[in-house]
């Protein structure tokens, strides 16, 4: 079991954190901003630029130490879907003029430095993974052109692979994860697969069973990361193995039903009632 370590960066909201503004690489707000428990669409706010990214990297290190202490087999850096490390990666959300912004090398620095900290904490690079979403989309991400994105993610994946990670997880384009329509629809797996030599390559993004089989047997992925089918099918492996029918998730209870006091009415419903 790997713990996924996460920092929201600019896509948090002051109303959810005692009036404090979120932080980000640069003072650039994401477009959009619908918050589940805030009325209407308050919008994303302009983040406070991080003075010294090493301070935030120190927080990642602390979380990694706690994960190790807690006994997790390993940790994954969430460097996808528009959260903080991803905000450093892309040129539109990172306009820094120091060593953390500008060139592809500089924009990749934050993700790579956090990964190095993780490795140093676990003492075994194979206990560290990273999740990337080169197509962008979610949380207003995505480089303008395939060429730009290809250059960025090729560099990042090559450097991450040199660290001999346990795995590099690459999410593909999913229309559901691209509410604003800015995501790139290109096939990054074909671009990145040859660059992953030492780490395992995990793929993610709405793979059904047949596609999952195919991406492993034909496209060279080592494993498939599957989300939604696990919601209502805790025994998913057996379901696939025996060809059993897939149960449908209880979407109304994906995040639990809230009482007026903002407590989850019954956390078990739609969560642990699928057997």
């Amino acid at each position: 079991m790997f713990a996924q370590l996460w920092h929201l960066g600019r896509v948090s909201h002051p109303l959810h954190q005692c009036g404090q503004n979120p932080i980000g690489p640069s003072a650039i707000a994401a477009n959009g901003g619908k918050f589940r428990y805030l009325v209407e669409t308050p919008g994303y706010v302009t983040p406070v630029p991080i003075k010294n990214p090493k301070d935030v990297i120190a927080l990642y290190r602390k979380a990694a130490e706690n994960a190790k202490k807690a006994g997790f087999d390993g940790i994954e850096l969430h460097s996808a879907n528009g959260y903080l490390p991803h905000q450093f990666l892309e040129s539109h959300s990172n306009k820094r003029t120091d060593e953390w912004g500008g060139s592809v090398e500089n924009r990749s620095r934050f993700t790579l430095e956090v990964l190095k900290e993780f490795i140093s904490v676990y003492g075994d690079s194979k206990r560290v993974g990273v999740k990337l979403s080169p197509n962008g989309g979610y949380n207003d991400m995505g480089e303008k052109t395939f060429e730009e994105a290809k250059k960025l993610y090729s560099h990042l994946v090559q450097e991450a692979d040199k660290l001999n990670l346990g795995y590099i997880q690459v999410a593909r384009f999913l229309p559901d994860f691209d509410p604003s329509g800015r995501g790139l629809k290109d096939d990054f797996l074909a671009v990145l697969k040859p660059l992953v030599k030492k780490s395992s390559l995990f793929v993610n993004g709405g793979y059904g069973k047949d596609e999952a089989v195919e991406v492993i047997s034909k496209s060279g992925a080592d494993a498939v990361v599957i989300g939604r089918p696990f919601l209502a099918n805790p025994n998913l492996v057996q379901v696939y193995e025996k060809g059993l029918p897939l149960k449908q998730p209880d979407w109304m209870n994906l995040y639990g039903k809230l009482t007026p006091e903002c407590k989850i009415e019954n956390p078990r419903v739609g969560y642990v009632d699928f057997n």
């Binding site: 929201l8 109303l15 069973k209 494993a223 939604r228």
Partner: protein
């Protein structure tokens, strides 16, 4: 055909029993930021996955969209979890989930 998914995969010293990895998914079931026995049960039930990646665990207090600002801490359910889930909940998950560990972890923790 399914064999491609069911064959083991070595990731360093860890052997994944199969190549079906459970993705990290926000489920908003940690009131007060603490994962409890219900959360443990949720992960235990999915232990046949080759590897489980937990829901995102925030590394420091931050607000998010999965809790109202009227909440007593004004924080998202996970925002303190960077420390709390890891310090308390995960221990709980691992303690109760010890029997599932061989699936993802051949060596004793």
């Amino acid at each position: 055909m399914t064999l491609a998914l069911l064959s083991p995969l070595n990731v360093g010293s860890i052997t994944l029993k199969n190549r079906i990895v459970m993705a990290s998914m926000t489920r908003n079931r940690c009131p007060g930021t603490y994962p409890d026995e219900v959360v443990v049960k949720y992960y235990e039930e999915r232990a046949s996955a080759g590897l489980i990646i937990t829901e995102g665990v925030l590394i420091s207090p931050q607000g998010f969209k999965y809790i109202s600002q009227t909440h007593k801490h004004n924080y998202n359910f996970k925002e303190l979890n960077g420390l709390m889930l890891l310090e308390f909940g995960a221990r709980n998950i691992l303690k109760h989930g010890r029997r599932l560990l061989p699936l993802s972890m051949p060596k004793a923790v």
